[in-house]
């Protein structure tokens, strides 16, 4: 699987290098959207208003949302692309398990994805003057966000494998992800913390936003919930894709549109 990880990373890098416009266009579009939102809010609030750490929270939320949208859409979009190109049958004939292979692909493209997000973070910081609080401990909730989102992405790929279309889910999914990232479910009364803990992405995303924006020091329990939530949803995504692969073989629908 390590060799596969390396050649898949190389493939994604070569495609990025040969056809850079597609990836860079994403960075440009998301920067423009943020500038629009930022300038609009400033105008509405008036010239004398300072957003303070609320701005940092918004930036942290926006960046996390961008991280999740790419990871969520990746597996389903790649699967449909491979189906269109007539590659998917070759992936199924491989000795590697298809669900494990698809999960591995998310991580082989992760560095590239995060590199583009980092460029965006730098641009946004320069525009807004905001400085987020980066610490090593934040890797844990960040891993929770990545894992939980990947799990949802794998579940979407499972649906795409059987239904052969996924564009509606990917479009609606962006708004669902936004609410999962920015909604403070933990503050919804006495059950809020429990509800947040079982909601995908939410505990990790909420914790990370507060760490980045307020310099919040998280307890071990909060860190474990954030990471655990990610691991559970990731494994659930892999399992659903495995079930979908078996069903596609039974229905003879691998690669058939």
């Amino acid at each position: 699987m390590l060799s596969m990880f390396l050649v898949e990373s190389k493939r994604q890098w070569l495609i990025f290098k040969r056809y850079p416009v597609e990836s860079i266009a994403g960075v440009v579009i998301f920067t423009i959207i943020f500038i629009g939102l930022f300038a609009g809010s400033k105008y509405l609030a008036g010239a004398g208003v300072h957003f303070g750490n609320r701005l940092d929270l918004v930036i942290a939320g926006y960046i996390l949302w961008l991280v999740t949208t790419g990871l969520f859409a990746g597996p389903g979009a790649l699967l449909l692309e491979d189906t269109r190109l007539g590659i998917i049958e070759q992936l199924f004939v491989s000795p590697l398990n298809f669900a494990a292979f698809t999960a591995m692909r998310i991580f082989s493209g992760l560095v590239q994805h995060l590199l583009l997000i980092a460029i965006l973070v730098v641009i946004i910081s320069l525009i807004t003057g905001s400085r987020l609080d980066y610490r090593w401990i934040e890797i844990l909730p960040f891993a929770g966000v990545i894992l939980a989102t990947s799990g949802l992405g794998l579940a979407t790929a499972a649906y795409a494998l059987l239904a052969k279309q996924v564009s509606a889910i990917l479009s609606i999914g962006q708004f669902v992800l936004l609410s999962l990232v920015v909604t403070p479910i933990q503050s919804f009364g006495v059950w809020g913390a429990w509800l947040s803990a079982i909601t995908p992405i939410n505990p990790a995303a909420q914790l990370l936003q507060h760490q980045l924006a307020d310099g919040y020091s998280a307890g071990n329990g909060e860190l474990m919930v954030a990471l655990g939530n990610g691991v559970v949803y990731f494994l659930a995504g892999v399992y659903l894709l495995e079930l979908a692969s078996r069903r596609a073989r039974r229905l003879a629908s691998v690669g058939q549109f």
Partner: protein
């Protein structure tokens, strides 16, 4: 590999519109170094059979066994098999020839180092040296197909399944592909190939499996299959009209007239030529070679059965 054994395979596709039997109790075997060509009309079940062998479709009944391994989804089975599927490009368009071979080599279980070694070997074996660094999207259809077959062989499988490998490929690339398949079979690779191009089948097949409406109606050596309808003989075409006296003489020799062809038994060849002389003969074919005709006759037999 010693043998691919297919026993009692059945598959029915069910949808809201009803059920379609794709395969009905198919059994056959393919030996090491043998090329079995699966023939049938569109929708006969050829692709379903190939995809079951490759582990892409789960049969309702029966099994495929490769050297004792019965589950085509197992890693060990898959390491032994290479496949090219119909209508697919089977390659990444944005990668070069070499990068595709390297990528799919690793995908098929080779280490990165071994995949690179094999990629170099396949580039030479399939005469792709001049296109080594060409992005696959810029290769001709024939070259792409040659690359797809090279990719299916990169991990040195013992069984190769090919679904319409020469569809849309120009004659030069067809000849090159046929030569590669012959070389692989001589090296001991078992090959199952479906094709509608009978000239290709004639060139490569050792045995022919004929499928009609999901049922295997013939599994014969190529020679037996060809002889099954035409029992030898010739077909002749003459440029000028044949007069009545000659027609009577020819009928007496057993000639059957089917405009613009004359068909007659093998032993009547020289007698027929004597009668025809000096009319110009434009075509003379051994009927044994006419696989298309045999195929159509055999299909007709079973349609009427």
């Amino acid at each position: 590999m010693r043998e691919l054994e297919i026993a009692g395979l059945s598959k029915t596709y069910r949808s809201s519109g009803g059920a379609v039997v794709a395969l009905d109790d198919i059994s056959l075997n393919v030996r090491r170094g043998e090329i079995v060509s699966v023939l049938g009309l569109n929708g006969a079940g050829k692709t379903t059979l190939v995809k079951i062998i490759a582990g892409l479709i789960e049969p309702d009944k029966g099994h495929v066994r490769l050297d004792g391994m019965e589950d085509p989804t197992r890693s060990r089975y898959r390491k032994c098999i290479g496949a090219v599927f119909e209508g697919n490009r089977n390659i990444y368009w944005r990668l070069t020839t070499f990068e595709n071979l390297e990528y799919f080599g690793v995908l098929r279980g080779l280490s990165l180092k071994r995949a690179r070694e094999r990629a170099n070997q396949m580039v030479s074996l399939f005469q792709l040296d001049s296109k080594r660094s060409t992005v696959a999207a810029h290769l001709s259809r024939g070259m792409q197909q040659r690359l797809a077959v090279a990719i299916s062989m990169v991990h040195e499988p013992e069984l190769l399944v090919l679904d319409e490998p020469t569809l849309g490929v120009d004659i030069e690339n067809v000849i090159s592909l046929v030569a590669s398949l012959k070389a692989l079979s001589q090296a001991g690779v078992a090959i199952v190939v479906t094709s509608h191009q009978f000239d290709v089948v004639k060139m490569v097949a050792d045995r022919i499996a004929l499928i009609v409406a999901g049922r295997l109606v013939a599994l014969e050596s190529k020679a037996e299959f060809l002889a099954s309808v035409n029992k030898g003989g010739y077909s002749m075409q003459v440029r000028e009209p044949i007069d009545g006296a000659r027609v009577d003489q020819l009928r007496a020799l057993g000639v059957r007239f089917e405009e613009p062809w004359l068909h007659f038994p093998e032993q009547a060849l020289y007698a027929v030529m004597d009668v025809i002389r000096p009319l110009p003969i434009t075509s003379l074919n051994s009927i044994e070679d006419d696989l298309t005709k045999v195929f159509l006759e055999r299909i007709k037999d079973h349609a009427h059965a």
